[in-house]
Amino acid sequence: MLDLARQPLVRVDGLKMHFPIYSGVFRSHTGDVKAVDGVSFDIAQGETLGLVGESGCGKSTVGRALLRLYEPTAGRVIIDGEDVAHLSAEKLRQKRPTMQMVFQDPQASLNPRMTLAGIIGEPLDEHTRLSRAEKTARIYELMDQVGLNRRFANRYPHEFSGGQRQRIGIARALALNPKFIVCDEPIAALDVSIQAQVVNLLEDLQDRLGLTYLFISHDLSMVRHLADRVAVMYLGRIAELSPAKDLYARPLHPYAEALLSAVNEPDPVIAARRKRIILKGDVPSPANPPTGCNFCTRCPQVFELCRQVKPELSEVEPGRFVACHLYDNNKAARSTGGPEATERNQQGAST
């Protein structure tokens, strides 16, 4: 039983999503926007993985490529035993019920010409053979689950408030009993008061239905509240992947440290003592990332190696993965055993 729970439901391996750039008179292929450039992680059954990072770092692209709403350039995405990235179109369509998405903009992501019942019921038409009555019963059940009044079934999306629309989006995602849901900034477009409601609903549903989430957000405090583990992304790559508690207590990657220093602290005493790390410069263009570490242009602790070699994501402490040359020592210590580390220590001692 315990073993089954640890089995990852989602395994992402070297996912790349490059968008071609066409320019010039003949619209020739002149380059790629490397929105996601080699991302690997896995999510256990029933777990919530938070995915954070600043705007444009490729969070949403990861989410969409994962469900193959984009065609990934390279990499494997194994969800519930099947490689979604390489399924045929028809197989993929049949796979869709297992994996669903809650979208960022609840207004735009609902077809304005369909009623609520139509929106929630459409996947049932496509993927199940329920009778009319069963379908209506299921639609009502879903509406109950997300706390929407049954009277609203024949209304159109524009007649609802933002929070209600997001509930519709969640009900729609739940319609086919998915195992895995990508929540792509589901609360970003909502008022703070409504955000808590939606987040609580998501947590509640996870407890009841045993769902697995990839929770994409730039709201760090919400992710802290919701996620078991958190991946910090920067410019298309994962900088750090750690259990939420550890990450927020002691971020390892310099970027994670800077990012987390921006989280609001409710306690004024701690807030006054806290040091804000302000990064200088802009994020490099994902069409032309630096040769070495993607973060080397802004990193406060940059050294020569960073500008030449891209660090790989590796486990530096139990359960904590970091892509940073600062931790090369730990990595070596863990991967090759003691000798190398001791050798360096000896060198350090001799000088």
Binding site: R93, R96, M101, A108, S109, N111, P112, P123, E126, H158
Partner: protein, 335 residues
């Protein structure tokens, strides 16, 4: 919705009265008079008698109100009499054409079938061609189908019908001799042979007008589809695991049809008004030809009446387009 329609209809009354005023006075005050159509050999006394009988000596405003009364009161009575065999009109004076001396509405009734068959078919063909092309070009943007569609649309839209018409006549009627260059209005459809002859003679004018209308409609369809294809709800539909067919035809196309339906509805008065130029090119004896003929002959009642009917149709179809908009798009509420 009902209140909205009623309000719009009420607003339409002063609008139409104003239009009728402008049309009547503009046509009447324009240079050229019925008197100039009477040959100079006719002596002055007879000339005066003719003018008297045409009723042109009455003051302008009197003639306007008489025309208005005939248009809105007497002619509908004749129409009802004609349909149900009643006798409401009791021989009241109708709007009479100066040149043919027969009632204007009878002439319109005679000409209308020609216009509706040819121009109506052309419009229907245009819609049937334009929608699939527009939908497919948007779905496969920048594909060769799209490029070709864009090119043909640009040609169809920018080259005037009197040019395409003549080019088609030169190629298909003169050189290849596949189709007749002149439309035979007297052709009666009695059997398969004459039906074929009718279809045969319709092909060229329908092609010319169809190309022109299809160009416009397909461009609107394409841009509307493109706008909707980029919307988030399309991604939602794909994420639901709907097939591409359902995604494109049910989700995207239905939402994209809202502006297209409006364009189509607004184009319909043109079907009645006839394509003046195309009717001339192919010698189709339709409404457009009647209007041109009337203008040449200084047949004022004919010009005024046809123009005003067109104006009424435009106002009506504007209203219809707005109502359709409200039906198709649940976000729009009229109240």
């Amino acid at each position: 919705m009902l209140t909205y329609v009623l309000r719009r209809l009420l607003i339409a009354i002063p609008t139409l009265l104003l239009i009728s005023l402008v049309i009547f006075f503009l046509v009447d005050l324009a240079p050229g008079s019925p008197a100039s159509e009477i040959p100079l050999t006719v002596d002055a006394a007879t000339r005066a008698k003719i003018l008297e009988s045409l009723g042109v000596n009455a003051p302008l405003h009197e003639r306007y109100f008489l025309w208005l009364k005939q248009f809105f009161w007497i002619e509908p009575q004749y129409a009802i009499d004609h349909l149900f065999g009643t006798d409401l009109a009791q021989g009241a004076q109708r709007i009479i054409s100066y040149s043919s001396r027969s009632p204007v509405f009878s002439i319109i009734a005679e000409r209308l079938p020609q216009t509706l068959t040819v121009i109506g078919t052309a419009y229907a063909v245009a819609i049937l061609i334009a929608l699939p092309i527009g939908i497919y070009s948007a779905y496969r943007q920048y594909s060769w189908v799209d490029q070709l569609g864009t090119f043909v649309s640009m040609v169809g839209y920018s080259v005037p019908t009197f040019f395409t018409g003549v080019v088609l006549i030169v190629i298909f009627a003169v050189k290849l001799q596949w189709f007749p260059s002149i439309y035979d209005t007297t052709l009666k459809i009695t059997d398969w042979g004459s039906l074929w002859a009718q279809v045969h003679q319709m092909i060229l004018p329908v092609a010319v007008l169809g190309l022109y209308n299809a160009a416009e409609i397909s461009r609107y369809t394409r841009s509307s589809m493109l706008e909707n294809l980029g919307q988030d709800y399309v991604r939602t539909a794909r994420a639901k695991g709907m097939g591409e067919r359902v995604v494109v035809l049910k989700h995207v196309a239905r939402n994209s049809m809202i502006p297209v339906v409006t364009i189509i509805a607004l184009g319909l008065p043109g079907v009645f008004g006839g394509a003046i130029v195309t009717e001339q090119v192919f010698k189709i004896n339709g409404i457009g030809a009647a209007l041109i003929g009337a203008i040449h002959a200084n047949d004022l009642p004919m010009v005024q009446t046809i123009t005003f009917i067109t104006a009424i149709l435009i106002v009506t179809f504007n209203l219809i387009a707005d109502i359709l908009y409200g039906i198709l798009d649940p976000r729009i509420r009229y109240d």
